[in-house]
């Protein structure tokens, strides 16, 4: 695969805006061949980090490299990194085709590629309309077309499904998975765990500018949430005693049903068998990714709703 090895490496990235610390000593690698979800509540520093990757903002300390080089030293940036940070970052009076053409020209990319990416994102019919009149969804597609122009090994999308209709959302997910399957490095930011759970293989979770987790989605779920086992037995009271004795806790859900915390399903099954108990149900329950994420970032959310409705 030609894209193997395309990497983003961030080392001790720190960025202040006045007294606010937007990104705080952040280090991570983004590896090829998978979709890496860049996750954090609003204001966690995701966009700032992406801007530093693109050389738009200068870190106060630390560094980030693309394939070993700072972004500003890339010989033809669009051929190595395609990024959609802000779909509105274009001149609204310019026709979509020319927006893409001037980007292609700046990196010596063939004109034919403009028509190609317009077709890929499904905008070929509106190429000669002014980009300012585009809907949010069309704007996102145009931004994605711009990111794909240089056929880059690294792609970065900041909240790409914002404003898209369900069909568009499905398309973006499929696109990101396809890009990663081709061996490219794909970094996608989101503040919605549910979105990431559908596309990402790996997660980088940040809160208040700090790294919270850098692990696979599977590890993330296992490590960041307590998971319980639902057990149903006609001999509920006896089961409760055994569970308690084994050092686990439980909560009663309904008649004859317990949610056991602190014991694996297998251990509960063995416990029941050795004591001759009948089990009607034994189900490991995973916390949803959303729950896991909420729990993890609870302390780093900038603004909390008070729960009161005026």
């Amino acid at each position: 695969m030609p894209h193997d090895g395309a990497m983003i490496e961030a080392r001790n990235l720190t960025k202040h805006y006045g007294r606010t610390v937007a990104v705080d000593d952040l280090s991570f690698d983004v590896a090829p061949g998978r979709v890496t979800g860049f996750l954090g509540p609003n204001g966690a520093g995701k966009t700032t980090t992406m801007r530093m990757i693109l050389g738009l903002d200068r870190p106060n300390s630390g560094a980030v490299t693309i394939n070993g080089r700072p972004y500003r030293d890339l010989p033809a940036p669009l051929r190595e990194v395609g990024a959609l940070l802000d779909a509105k970052a274009l001149h609204g009076g310019r026709k979509a085709y020319y927006h893409l053409l001037l980007l292609a020209q700046s990196n010596g990319i063939a004109k034919a590629r403009v028509d190609e990416v317009l077709r890929i994102v499904g905008l070929e019919g509106v190429a000669d309309r002014r980009a300012g009149g585009f809907s949010l969804g069309m704007g996102q597609r145009l931004g994605i077309a711009a990111a794909l122009l240089g056929d880059p090994g690294i792609l970065m999308f900041d909240e790409p499904v914002n404003g898209l209709d369900p069909e568009g959302i499905a398309w973006v997910r499929q696109l990101m998975r396809a890009l990663a399957a081709e061996g490219r490095t794909v970094l996608v930011s989101s503040h919605l765990m549910s979105e990431m759970s559908l596309t990402a293989d790996h997660l980088i979770v940040i809160g208040k500018g700090k790294l919270i987790r850098d692990e696979s989605v599977t590890q993330f779920v296992e490590s960041s949430s307590r998971h319980s086992v639902r057990v149903r037995s006609p001999q509920r009271e006896r089961l409760e005693e055994l569970v308690q004795h084994a050092g686990a806790s439980f909560s009663r859900v309904e008649d004859g049903t317990l949610d056991v915390l602190g014991l694996e399903a297998a251990a509960i099954g063995e416990l029941a068998a050795s004591n001759g108990l009948v089990l009607h149900e034994l189900t490991p329950k995973r916390a949803s990714l959303e729950e896991a994420f909420m729990e993890l970032t609870r302390d780093s959310v900038e603004f909390h709703a008070t729960g009161q409705v005026a």
């Binding site: 693109l54 738009l56 903002d57 990024a83 970052a89 001149h91 026709k95 990196n107 010596g108 499929q174």
Partner: protein, 273 residues
């Protein structure tokens, strides 16, 4: 929508390095594909040529009745007088080609595409200044020739072959291009259309006006060396007292624009986009 990416056959050749020429091509596309470029230049042409024709015709018509006109009559300078108004359109366009990048957010897309910031800015300014120069020369020549045609027969008129006339007419185009470039440099520093236009208008009209309120000993050197006043010397035939010569004047203005440009490049490199 199913198929997502069609992989073009991978060329094994290494990526071609992007060049200054690529940036020039890109900036030219940028410039010619927004309407403000055309409309600003059209406004400059209408103000310069149209107003110039009116001023030439009016001056020539009352030449025989107005002794004051006889005294200072210079047909070239008279016909180019409209350019003091048309210059505003050049200055404003200079501001807009930069502030437009900031107000739309395009600057981030531009700098992601051309990561070497100075390359992006020098390509943009090269393309734009060339366009402004061509437009400026065309407007200056048209204003001059139309003006002289209207003056001819009613008052003494000039020919392009007379002493200093060609230099003044060509110089007027150069002055307009320099002014447009100054507008762009200022806009790169202030990053905002309104602020940029305010600064360039202050430089052109407000600050030289304030000089009149100062004691003569201050007023004269300010009038003499004020960059835009100095630059205008390049665009006239008849020189007043306490003014620089045409080439000196051009030099002073060019040096001033160069200083502002250096500040613009330094700030663009240093600041977050």
């Amino acid at each position: 929508m199913t198929a997502v990416i069609e992989r073009p056959p991978q060329t094994a050749s290494p990526v071609r390095r992007a060049t200054f020429g690529d940036a020039l091509r890109s900036e030219w596309t940028k410039l010619r594909t927004v309407r403000s470029t055309f409309w600003s230049l059209a406004a400059a042409a209408a103000l310069g040529i149209g107003l110039g024709a009116l001023i030439s015709w009016a001056g020539a018509s009352r030449f025989h009745r107005d002794a004051g006109l006889h005294f200072n009559w210079n047909p070239t300078d008279h016909s180019l007088r409209s350019l003091t108004i048309a210059q505003l359109a050049f200055a404003v366009l200079g501001v807009l080609i930069i502030s437009g990048e900031y107000s739309t957010g395009m600057i981030r897309t531009s700098l992601a595409a051309v990561a070497k910031r100075s390359r992006m800015l020098s390509a943009k300014l090269t393309v734009f200044t060339l366009l402004a120069l061509i437009a400026g020369e065309a407007i200056a020549l048209a204003t001059f020739f139309l003006g002289q045609a209207l003056i001819y027969g009613k008052a003494p008129s000039a020919s392009i072959g007379y002493p200093h006339v060609a230099r003044a007419v060509i110089g007027a185009g150069v002055y307009l291009a320099l002014l447009a470039l100054l507008g762009s440099a200022i806009a790169t520093i202030v990053r905002h259309a309104a602020a940029g236009i305010a600064v360039i208008v202050a430089i052109l009209f407000v600050l030289p006006g304030i000089a009149y309120a100062l004691p003569t000993s201050w007023q004269q050197p300010i009038e003499e060396y004020w960059p835009t006043n100095a630059g205008q010397q390049f665009a006239i035939v008849m020189r007043d007292a306490h003014t620089l010569g045409p080439w000196q004047g051009f030099g002073v203005m060019a040096a001033f624009v160069a200083v502002v440009l250096v500040a613009a490049f330094v700030l663009l490199e240093r600041r977050d986009a």
